[in-house]
Symmetry: C2
Subunit: 273 residues, 2 copies
Amino acid sequence: MTEARAAGRRRPVPCEAEDGDAVAGPLGRLFLRLNTPLPLGAEELDALRTLRMQRLVAPAGRDLVREGDAVDRVYIFQRSWGCRYATLEDGRRQILQILLPGDHVGDSAEVFSRSDHAVATLTEGPLLVLPSRDLLDAARRRPRLGVALEWSRWRDLAIMQRRLVDLGRRSALERTAHLLLELHHRLQLVGLGSARGYRLPLTQQTLADALGLTEVHVNRTLRRMAREGLARIDDQRVTILRPERLAEIAEFDEGYLHHGPVPGAPPPDENAA
Amino acid sequence: MTEARAAGRRRPVPCEAEDGDAVAGPLGRLFLRLNTPLPLGAEELDALRTLRMQRLVAPAGRDLVREGDAVDRVYIFQRSWGCRYATLEDGRRQILQILLPGDHVGDSAEVFSRSDHAVATLTEGPLLVLPSRDLLDAARRRPRLGVALEWSRWRDLAIMQRRLVDLGRRSALERTAHLLLELHHRLQLVGLGSARGYRLPLTQQTLADALGLTEVHVNRTLRRMAREGLARIDDQRVTILRPERLAEIAEFDEGYLHHGPVPGAPPPDENAA
DNA sequence: CGGAAGGTTGAGCCCCATCAATTATTGTGG
DNA sequence: CCACAATAATTGATGGGGCTCAACCTTCCG
């Protein structure tokens, strides 16, 4: 059993080798995601591209937003991972949402001026930053873009609801399986990972904070999943060994991610403000 | 100890005696809630009032929406309680959100045509039903109404995030205290309950499904809260005995409910479509 | 080389689940 | 009016899933 671990240890991994970042431009993954509910036209893509943004390279573990901070900036994750999280006074931490490349935060500015939770990076990498207002204005001018952003919000909500079910009613094995499968699907949407697995640049402590477990128990759960041939994590790479069995354990049904197109999507509009 | 229980048993309680339903009209509590982020004008109130709605009297425990159903109707709870919930194959149930008088569901129709969870009543009472599209159209015509609805969505999200923290990182006592306090604040927003307590028409089984606990453990937790003089539930009535201590245990800070007005609210507009 | 970070494993315990039984209350049909 | 069932609250006994504490190993890095 020692070799298994030793073999799988942290060798220098090419940081973003998965698809060579061939996705067009810095907004590539955001496009891939927003394009999901309905195809965006050149108009919408341009509207996004011409937004004035700052580039921010943040190290892993940096707080971008703290509880109580103003919510007036949108952060777009290009290649790195992040999370929204809450902390209790004694240090217990609960991750509310794991943020993947192409995800963004900060568009509740319309109504909530202060954040009731924190946002942080989980890995090092470049972010795009822009005033929330600019993105919301663009969404108002381009209805299809507005729909895409709204889809994004509802999808995030759906994901959080699954996590709520996980934490409330599912065992450690079940919820861990569910998270691994969910990340797989979300990553594939933005062109990351393969059919069999993906890179997971998170520590077990971070997974624990997302799963409402302790680091120790996450470890035991992952080892059990490996022992039983369900999935394994070696060298920051998740390999899904028995997708059907895992989905069965987790009662995973990808429908909640709404990765198909929206049925009644508005026409390929041309109406600017 | 027997008298305490016997004294507090289910006597016939006047169903909605709390304030005699003096809130203006069938949309009264909805108004109270939507009025929170910014004061709505006569225009917005009229826009709501003139929507064509059906009245539906549903018994307790009726499913209004099932998983997979179309999301094309808005349900407004007038005086009764409801919930959104998910069920696992083996029957385990997790309540995602408790719905109070004045709450509504069903405005994700814009982008999500199918529901990935169920909506049910928890108590008997009249509901208002209308096509989602109509409400969304009204929100588009009346920007202030749109902001109010958006505030409502973000607030629901904030509540769910707290529940996520509860289920992930808080003990039974902590999360139960948190829920009791949260309901207290939410009810007061719509004119229900008093400074010291409120009517809670839920079974312990229902509370358990919301808290990610078992009925048995909810019971023990509530008894403990009573024994320690923190709060008690008698005859469907919650009495908060030591608000400060309870808030301390739950780390409850009402800020996340955003029950204050929105700072940068748009002007008292007059622009109809 | 030493320390820090992350992963792994064992021992022991506790919070909460499970199972089961009792009581009170309400509603129902005879 | 009364048996009867159903619902809900309550309590005890028991067990287990996950937490706590602690140690150890490997890799990384200054």
